[in-house]
């Protein structure tokens, strides 16, 4: 067999990763349809993509990329430095709607040195740049076809877009002019099935071969017991936090935040909401990344300590609103956390909301007390250094530490800085740090080559094949 039906949870709004933030666009297109200059591999490392190699100037402010030759877009046009320049300039233009535009802020200018050489000039050293350029939102688009990518994605990847049955599935076929090693699969169908029980039924009934991120952890034991399936629980970058509005009374009091931290029973949470899959985290950092420190013991589950801290802060009889976005991890965790907080004397009103409302009420207007959400961007410690982020965390020390990290090129020193950043967040109990969202892979036992972890939301299918 060379065909594959793979399930995704959400319907993509469209198929242009450079024009919307929806993770599912990346899950379908990244490394399959579109490729970036660099590429993030299954371990989260940066490897060459459409750029064979790159160099950094000594001051760290100029990157020079050597582009691959003999690369064609699916529509037959050739890829060269003009496309790369076009892509990056489009992303940083004033009228850009690129969701990652913020990360490109350090870029000063982009130019084509020759047809196969690109140079990127920065305002200040940014060690992250190769990683950023490997993100789904910065894949290379053809300059003639950029505006039609939403419905007719045209990239350079190993698969070509075949057809999008809106609301149901996206079909891809093998790109026979692919520059690299040809994939083993000839047809790939991404089917949109968000409902967990429908997903279960679809897998069981054999309508779908694989779910790289199955929506319902409660079903995994059944798949595990079934020899037809292979279950691989990996890690995502989804740091799930109980976000707290640090500027709001009484959450501006560190004792209250620490009390909440003590009231969080991570084991119960992981058991209850995730059926035991998922790793506890003690700070805003994923365990698989270099520089991780285990801080989960910093605030052990201790209702007594929580009550004492609340008493000390004079915050008894507290009543807080907990805004919950739609994903089931959030809704389930919310119910459990609310119950535990009630146990230490904090009344919690659950306010479920849709993303649209969450984005305006919580994220933009910061009109909330507590919320539960998973931050899936890798390496995103910068959000705590931002001025206007919805946690309302404002710590000069943290900002200073982060600035240091951003400018640091030396790997050893970077690791040390990363550790102190994690430490600082935990000390300040900025948020309740809950767990790392697992990646629940379930697929036909005869399939191999899927990513085990999800360093970025993607399903790189280049290496996937049916066992012979």
């Amino acid at each position: 067999r060379t065909d594959l039906a793979i399930g995704v949870r959400l319907e993509p709004p469209h198929l242009d990763p450079t024009a919307a933030a929806a993770a599912v666009i990346g899950e379908i297109t990244y490394a399959n349809l579109f490729e970036g200059l660099t590429r993030i591999d299954r371990e989260g490392r940066v490897i060459p993509g459409l750029a064979e190699s790159w160099e950094v100037s000594d001051d760290g402010k100029v990157y020079t990329f050597r582009l691959r030759q003999g690369v064609f877009f699916h529509d037959g046009s050739t890829f060269d430095a003009r496309d790369a320049v076009f892509t990056l300039e489009r992303a940083i233009a004033p009228d850009s709607i690129n969701p990652q535009k913020a990360l490109l802020e350090p870029i000063e200018a982009v130019e084509a040195v020759d047809a196969h050489t690109l140079s990127v000039r920065l305002k200040r050293p940014t060690a992250q740049l190769p990683f950023i350029l490997g993100l789904p939102a910065l894949v290379i688009v053809g300059h003639e076809t950029a505006e039609t990518n939403r419905a007719m994605p045209n990239g350079t990847g190993p698969f070509r877009f075949s057809r999008w049955h809106m609301g149901d599935r996206v079909d891809l076929v093998r790109n026979d002019r692919y520059w690299g090693e040809k994939p083993a699969l000839s047809r790939v169908t991404f089917r949109v099935i968000g409902d967990p029980s429908a997903a279960y039924a679809a897998l069981m009934a054999g309508n779908i071969d694989a779910y790289t991120n199955f929506p319902a952890p409660e079903h995994l034991p059944q798949f595990e017991a079934d020899p037809r399936f292979k279950v691989v629980v990996g890690r995502t970058e989804g740091k799930t936090v109980l976000a707290q509005n640090n500027a709001r009374k009484p959450l501006d009091d560190i004792r209250v935040r620490r009390a909440i931290a003590h009231a969080i029973d991570r084991k119960l949470l992981i058991d209850g909401a995730l059926y035991g899959y998922g790793d506890p985290i003690g700070s805003h950092f994923a365990p698989q990344n270099a520089g991780y420190v285990d801080l989960t013991g910093r605030y052990p589950y201790d209702p007594e300590a929580a009550r004492a801290l609340l008493r000390e802060a004079g915050a008894e009889g507290l009543r807080l609103k907990l805004a919950l976005p739609p994903p089931s991890y959030a809704r389930r965790s919310g119910e459990i956390i609310a119950e535990r907080l009630r146990d230490v004397g904090i009344q919690v009103d659950i306010v479920p909301m849709e993303w649209a409302q969450w984005l305006t009420d919580v994220f933009r207007d910061k009109n909330y007390d507590l919320s539960i959400v998973s931050h899936v961007e890798p390496n995103d410690l910068d959000i705590y250094a931002r001025d206007d982020y919805y946690f309302n965390y404002d710590s000069p020390e943290y900002k200073a530490l982060y600035a240091e990290l951003a400018a640091e090129q030396d790997e050893e020193k970077r690791l040390v800085l990363l550790k102190s950043l994690q430490q600082k967040l935990t000390d300040d109990a900025v948020n309740g740090f809950l767990f790392l969202l697992p990646k629940l892979g379930v697929w036909d036992a005869r399939l191999q080559g899927f990513w085990e972890n999800a360093p970025i939301p993607a399903n790189d299918l280049t290496g996937v094949r049916w066992e012979r």
């Binding site: 409902d195 967990p196 029980s197 279960y200 319902a216 409660e218 079903h219 059944q222 119960l268 058991d271 209850g272 809704r331 389930r332 919310g334 119910e335 459990i336 609310a338 119950e339 659950i350 306010v351 479920p352 909301m353 849709e354 649209a356 409302q357």
Partner: protein, 280 residues
């Protein structure tokens, strides 16, 4: 169709409806366990002496959840029907009395409201007011208004044209007197029957709304949402999906039986008000 069978319907309906309402009320002050209390170590417990219906995915007692879960459907249904009844029946009755422009306007408005699927109203309300019981009530209530307008218009039109209304006019009575003293009691039977039928639809509607997340919100349990949550657990613990489903069915049937029984009991001819009229 013999009368005993019909009276059995009335009795069965009354018992079921009474039971469910009572259960909902009791659950507000007492349930076997706290329906919000988690006990994850003890999740998916099968039915047994401690938990008669077992426990759910978070170790909550299913019986307690079912009891408290009745509050949403019953409460929403009753309040929504009340909205529909008060607004719709009044408007329909007055429209039938006046004829002319006012009557035309009322009937047109009613048709207009009817054209709006209740579900859309619920979705829009959710987005503006936030989800919850209140907007389920309002959405379903709005849906009921045109239904009750039609029913009460249809039922009161012949009454307004009847001989006894003419007699009341000759007796020097005004429209308000006639509406309250003659028309209302004479359409009360039809309204009662419709009310109980619509109550049953209300339970279903609330369940549907809760099922798609527009009704009662967590942590408060409701049958529809229990079904939603249990849906993914169907292969693991079918009882979790079956119990609330049956609860909905039994309640809906209770209201329906009550309606059918009432229809028979209230019809002075001792015959049926045709079922078709009840649906209309």
């Amino acid at each position: 169709m013999n009368r005993d069978f019909l009276n059995a319907r009335l009795l069965a309906g009354a018992i079921i409806v009474g039971g469910v309402c009572l259960m909902a009320l009791i659950s507000l002050v007492w349930t076997p366990y706290d329906p919000l209390k988690l006990d994850i170590a003890n999740r998916f417990a099968p039915p047994g002496p401690r938990h008669w219906l077992g426990t759910d995915q978070l170790g909550r007692d299913v019986l307690s959840l079912l009891m408290r879960g009745a509050v949403g459907p019953v409460g929403v249904s009753i309040s929504a029907v009340t909205i529909g009844l008060v607004v719709g029946a009044t408007a329909g009755m007055l429209a039938a009395s006046s004829g002319g422009v006012a009557s035309y306007a009322t009937l047109r408005t009613s048709d207009f409201l009817f054209a709006f699927p209740a579900l859309l109203i619920a979705i829009l309300l959710r987005e503006t007011l936030g989800p919850g019981m209140l907007n389920a009530m309002v959405a379903i209530g709005i849906f009921y208004i045109p239904i009750f307008i039609r029913v009460s218009y249809g039922a009161s039109l012949p009454v307004w044209r009847s001989g006894y209304v003419a007699a009341a006019r000759v007796a020097g009575r005004g429209s308000l007197w006639i509406a309250t003293v003659h028309v209302l009691p004479n359409i009360a039977g039809v309204l009662t029957v419709h009310t109980s039928v619509q109550l049953s639809l209300g339970v279903l509607a609330e369940a549907s709304l809760s099922y798609i997340g527009l009704g009662v919100q967590p942590p408060q349990p409701s049958w529809g949402r229990m079904l939603l949550e249990a849906q993914t657990l169907l292969p693991i613990s079918p009882l979790l999906a079956i119990a609330p489903g049956l609860a909905i069915m039994v309640t809906v049937m209770g209201f329906n039986l009550l309606g059918a029984g009432l229809r028979q009991a209230l019809d002075p001819r001792g015959a049926f008000i045709p079922e078709s009229e009840a649906v209309r």
